[in-house]
């Protein structure tokens, strides 16, 4: 049986707690670094997609899962970052080192603006106000495309980092991995800080947070600004990775996918955001593979999108009903089972 005790209060807040965790983390790190050497082009593209989506998903997790503020404007924010990058690169030939901070600044400004309604609105009403963000940004993007006669979208040349052009999927893998890991570390540490605790406190009880000296307005606005900035940066990377920006790529369905990522992964957990990302990115491919295996792919080729949407919706409902804690809940149960083995016991709390 595994028994271990914390000997100092500070240990409660350590990111990596036990030696076992350190070992597993190291193994996982090595696998991540070795993956591009072993994986084929298809697998590598999947991995890149997961890494790219994970950045946006973590950003939404910070806002919704931790600070408790609903946002349906996430696709719009990705679009804002992508269009900022596209327009700067196209019109001014701006390099990566200009477009990335510019996207971040645009994201922060939008976050500040669309965080303001959250000071007055909650729940569904807030969701509707953030939906406005989505339509405004998409409309602005479409307007730019038509004015400039770019009906098929803005083409973005691959970025060059220190005189080294990013075209190879392997090189992209490492850039996106670095981005994703940086986002995870930034978020985890932010959540252990005063700001992060203030976010979780207002999620728990706004009135009590006020009573204990937390500036609720500031906490909400900072959550919006941080989340929107990260999302916009993800949009910038998206633009470079895809090589073009088009308003059509940022539909409302994309927003719903991000929300689904957070719900399926498990609200209030960075690990949940990562697990949810893997699930949501791989899900359509799994459905396709299933249809191929069943020999339905040819007959239902015209309906593949509809089937995908339906299956996706079904998966979301099933998760909400059967596993409200999401994938991370399953993960914790499995973890507890191994920790308590050979004793049969249900986990309490975390």
């Amino acid at each position: 049986m595994s028994g271990y005790f914390r000997t100092r209060y500070e240990r409660d807040f350590a990111l990596v707690d036990t030696r076992t965790q350190k070992v597993w983390l190291a193994i996982f790190g090595i696998v991540l670094l070795a993956l591009p050497l072993l994986a084929g082009p298809f697998l590598l593209d999947l991995a890149n997609q997961v890494l790219l989506v994970s950045i946006g998903a973590i950003a939404l997790m910070l806002l919704t899962g931790y600070a408790g503020q609903i946002s349906l404007g996430h696709a719009g924010l990705l679009a804002a970052g992508a269009f900022t990058t596209g327009i700067l690169a196209k019109e001014f030939g701006a390099p990566f080192w200009v477009t990335l901070p510019a996207s971040a600044v645009v994201g922060a400004a939008i976050g500040l603006l669309f965080g303001l309604p959250s000071l007055r609105l909650r729940g569904l009403y807030l969701a509707v106000s953030t939906l406005a963000l989505h339509f405004i940004v998409i409309h602005a993007g479409q307007e730019y495309e038509t004015r400039r006669g770019l009906s098929s979208g803005v083409v973005v040349d691959p970025p060059s980092l220190a005189g080294w052009s990013l075209q190879d999927p392997r090189a992209w893998y490492f850039v996106l991995l670095a981005g994703s890991v940086a986002t995870v570390l930034f978020s985890l540490n932010l959540l252990r800080s005063k700001t992060g605790r203030a976010w979780r406190a207002i999620h728990g009880r706004e009135a009590v947070a006020e009573a204990l000296g937390i500036n609720v307005h500031w906490a909400k606005l900072s959550a919006f600004v941080v989340s929107c900035t990260i999302t916009s940066i993800a949009g910038c990377l998206f633009a470079y990775y895809r090589g073009f920006v088009s308003a059509e790529a940022f539909s409302l369905f994309l927003t719903i996918q991000y929300v689904a990522t957070v719900i399926i992964g498990g609200i209030g957990s960075i690990l949940g955001a990562l697990l949810g990302t893997v699930f949501v990115v791989l899900f359509p491919y799994a459905i396709e593979a299933l249809m191929n295996a069943l020999g339905l792919a040819d007959r239902m080729a015209s309906m593949i999108f509809a089937v995908n949407y339906a299956a996706f919706g079904l998966a979301m409902i099933l998760f909400l009903v059967a596993e409200p804690q999401g994938l991370v809940g399953i993960w914790r149960r499995v973890q507890a089972w191994f920790l308590l083995w050979p004793f049969k016991q249900k986990p309490v709390g975390k």
Binding site: K194, A201, A207, E210, A211, N215
Partner: protein, 265 residues
């Protein structure tokens, strides 16, 4: 500072611009004392506390008349976090902990008064409430009522208040736990040199710890005095301590004029 730590003068609070909950209350809380507000449901006790701590703004209520003076400075209609930063912390009546955070995170989440030693304070919380220290890693949503009350008081202490406002400490708790908590509060108050303003329905318990008490009815103070004086008062015995004529009665059963005559006259 020349006057008392906190002074209310002719305070009037109006909800939704139409309902007057507190009608001209005046009271004083001297530094280092324990002052208790007694009264039945709807008397205006909680509203008074929320007016001091700035919470009424969240319920669409305002201080429309009168003054709240803290350390010789006026502070009506301030937002709660600013009031907390000045040294007044409220332990609310119900829902008072962050259920999604662990006990340790609950204590770490507070923003202490500027200039206070946050490390020392959160350390003191574990000393005063060893039971909480054992539950540090537990999510607060899993705590019992008594543990939640301890945690709420602990979080409030971590704010480094000079004046602690406690709303209905005894609500929903076993009498033994209430006594234990009140005793603990007394110790903490003496150690840290705090001032306490308590709101209670349970008059017997409250009068045990109080230096001075005010009785509220229908948004007005109808009686005030030291616990010794109040305990001897016929109405307090009858309506609040239940030790008067034997049968339990509410002051609401008695015609208004009779009581007014007895109290004011």
């Amino acid at each position: 500072m020349t006057g008392p730590l906190l002074k209310l003068e002719k305070l009037e609070v109006v909800y939704h611009r139409v309902i007057t909950a507190v009608q001209g209350i005046s009271l004083e809380v001297p530094q280092g004392s324990v002052v208790v507000l007694l009264g039945n449901n709807g008397a205006g006790k909680t509203t008074t506390l929320r007016a001091i701590s700035g919470f009424i703004g969240l319920d669409d209520a305002r201080v429309t008349e009168g003054t709240i003076t803290y350390r010789d400075e006026r502070m009506e209609n301030q937002p709660p976090h600013k009031v907390t930063a000045r040294g007044i912390t409220l332990v609310p009546e119900r829902s008072k902990v962050f259920e999604n955070l662990t006990v340790a995170e609950n204590i770490e989440a507070v923003v202490p008064r500027p200039g206070a030693d946050a490390r020392k304070l959160s350390g003191a919380v574990w000393d005063y409430f060893p039971a909480l220290a054992r539950l540090r890693a537990r999510e607060a949503g899993y705590l019992s009522g008594g543990e939640r009350q301890m945690l709420a008081i602990g979080s409030a202490l971590a704010c480094a208040p000079e004046l602690l406002l406690v709303d209905e400490l005894s609500q929903g708790l076993a009498p033994l736990i209430v006594e234990e908590l009140l005793h603990r509060l007394q110790v903490i108050r003496k150690d840290l040199g705090m001032t306490l303003l308590l709101v209670e329905q349970n008059a017997a318990v409250a009068l045990d710890v109080a230096d001075y008490a005010y009785v509220l009815e229908n948004g007005r103070i109808v009686l005030d005095g030291t616990p010794e004086k109040l305990r001897q008062h016929q109405d307090i015995k009858e309506f609040y301590l239940g030790t008067g004529s034997g049968t339990r009665k509410s002051y609401r059963d008695v015609k208004q004029y009779r009581r007014s005559r007895r109290w004011y006259g």
